[in-house]
């Protein structure tokens, strides 16, 4: 026999052995937790079945083996399984705690001190040169803070509508600073306003678009926010026509944070995809399961 044939046989033997042991252990686990009453019932049916086919021995073997296993090892196995379940629950608890921590971290990072500082400076200077504009920026800042800060306490902020509102206020402030260098386009249908959407993700994407895409570009450009439903998913997209992405630039904590939170909240059902369209700039798309409104 050639070496490859030997390998093939070995592979087959290994797979068969693997399957058989898996089945046996599954049977074993079932025996450990099944109630005696149900076990009696299966004995009854098995005996009847094997009597009908006129070979009663396998039936008796089944009764004998399952009885012996349950009496001898069942208690220990049951304890093990319960311990494992408890561990799994503890893991869920750990996961939930990590989720909380991730959210807290995101929330703590949400009002960037520089942003607040620059905006207050802007308002201060507009009071002298353009009081009307100062009042407008001031109102936007209040909107922004109002929709940003209470998220620590109430759950109502985690809808797409709220997040869009927050982003509009933020962008209005940035427009007052960057003037004609920043254009903004929103394409979010009203009916999507009530859809659940995690806080501070849209915000991070918009901040990135401005900071890395448009601010370094002399003539500035447009930030476009678009939301639509594709099949069972909600897609929220932030695109800019700025300088694009340098393949050697670090992707930063912001995006890693979004990815981790999506993973914690939705597992494989959500994703963040970054792309660069042929016309230049950058697009970030969050995909997550679409729901009409938050669960009560």
């Amino acid at each position: 026999m050639r070496a490859s044939d030997i390998n093939r046989v070995l592979d087959f033997v290994r797979d068969a052995f693997h399957e058989a042991s898996k089945l046996w252990w599954r049977f074993f686990d079932w025996l450990a937790v099944v109630e005696w009453r149900q076990l009696f019932l299966t004995w009854f049916f098995v005996v009847i079945f094997f009597q009908l086919v006129n070979t009663p021995e396998p039936g008796f073997w089944y009764i004998f083996i399952s009885f012996a296993v349950k009496v001898l090892a069942g208690g220990k196995r049951k304890a093990e399984l319960m311990a494992r379940e408890a561990t799994a629950q503890a893991n869920v608890a750990t996961l939930e705690r990590r989720l909380m921590e991730a959210q807290m971290a995101a929330l703590q990072a949400q009002v960037e001190p520089h942003f607040l500082f620059n905006t207050l400076a802007l308002i201060g200077q507009l009071i002298e040169t353009d009081p009307k504009e100062a009042a407008r920026v001031h109102a936007h800042l209040i909107d922004y803070l109002r929709s940003t800060l209470p998220q620590m306490r109430q759950r109502g902020g985690a809808t797409l509508g709220k997040q869009v509102e927050l982003s509009r206020a933020y962008l209005a402030i940035m427009q007052a600073r960057m003037k004609e260098r920043l254009h903004v386009r929103f394409d979010v249908p009203d009916f999507l306003g009530s859809a659940p959407f995690p806080p501070m993700m849209l915000q991070t994407l918009i901040e990135n678009a401005i900071k890395h895409g448009l601010e370094p570009k002399i003539e500035g450009g447009t930030v476009a926010v678009r939301a639509h439903v594709v099949g069972a998913d909600l897609h929220v997209e932030v695109c800019d026509d700025g300088v694009g992405i340098d393949p050697h630039a670090d992707d930063g904590v912001g995006l890693a944070n979004i990815r981790e939170r999506l993973q914690l909240l939705y597992g494989a059902e959500a994703s963040l995809a970054i792309s660069t369209p042929p016309g230049g700039g950058a697009c970030a798309t969050i995909r997550l399961p679409y729901k009409m409104m938050e669960d009560a």
């Binding site: 390998n7 500082f117 200077q125 002298e128 007052a176 002399i218 393949p247 050697h248 992707d251 970054i274």
Partner: protein, 260 residues
């Protein structure tokens, strides 16, 4: 008459500085305003103002880079909101700077100092101190590396053609690369992409601590490795978080997973 140039990408900040300067130094003539670094250099070279107020973070050309082109002709005053590295450097190098938003008192002190310097310069007809050029060069590298020692830059994004656009896949999303005849397969938790870059090229460009070569045709991200085990034939097999299959470690690379 003393002339000045103001460069800042945010119009309200230019307005504020102009208004404050008019109060603090009514004789100063502001001859131009620039909205980015390129414009600042152009206007500065054309108009040769005595003083250039330069914001540090500007598109096109940073204030520091602009200063390197203008300092021989104009006295430079930097304006910045928060760059700590820059502030430290300014203090050490005795370069003039203003903290934004500019306060009236601070600007008055700066103006008085500027007036004194300009008087001295015109009386002695001296060129600006020689070391300013060197200081600016040092500042440029300092700001680029943000005070950290220079590190080689590694590839952080893999570009994969998907339809008409380029998908940017962060290296942190990637589980492994596997060469597949003409292409290289990029596997993430959710998807796979094909790229034309060869494993050899990737190996040269990726951070060596982030990705390990475990096989002639496989590069795996170290953080994604879940466990290493041996199969019945004695081969080392890698399990990767978020991917159901297993990756083979070739004998040449098994030293990576020796027991401690």
């Amino acid at each position: 008459m003393v002339t000045a140039l103001i460069a800042d990408d945010e119009a309200p900040m230019r307005d504020l500085l102009r208004a404050r300067l008019q109060q603090a130094w009514p004789d100063l003539q502001i001859v131009a305003e620039a909205a980015n670094g390129v414009e600042a250099v152009e206007l500065g070279e054309k108009l040769r103002p005595d003083i250039a107020f330069l914001d540090i973070r500007m598109p096109g050309l940073s204030g520091i880079e602009a200063a390197r082109r203008l300092y021989e002709r104009s006295h430079i005053v930097f304006a910045t909101a928060y760059d700590q590295y820059a502030l430290d450097a300014f203090e050490q190098g005795a370069l003039d700077y203003l903290l934004k938003p500019v306060s009236a008192e601070r600007l008055a002190t700066t103006c008085a100092r500027l007036q004194a310097r300009l008087r001295k310069r015109s009386s002695a007809d001296a060129a600006p101190p020689q070391d300013i050029g060197q200081q600016l060069a040092k500042l440029t590298t300092l700001l680029e590396t943000k005070g950290k020692p220079e590190k080689p830059t590694y590839l952080r994004w893999i570009q994969a053609q998907v339809g008409a656009s380029l998908r940017m896949v962060s290296t942190r999303e990637i589980l492994f690369f596997q060469s597949d005849e003409k292409y290289t397969r990029v596997q993430t938790g959710a998807a796979e992409f094909l790229i034309r870059k060869t494993l050899k090229e990737l190996l040269d460009e990726l951070e060596p601590d982030e990705f390990w070569r475990i096989h002639r045709s496989t590069l795996v991200r170290v953080d994604a490795i879940a466990e290493v085990k041996r199969d019945l034939r004695g081969r080392q097999m890698l399990k990767v978080r978020g991917y159901p299959g297993e990756l083979e470690v070739s004998r040449n690379h098994s030293y990576l997973f020796q027991q401690m």
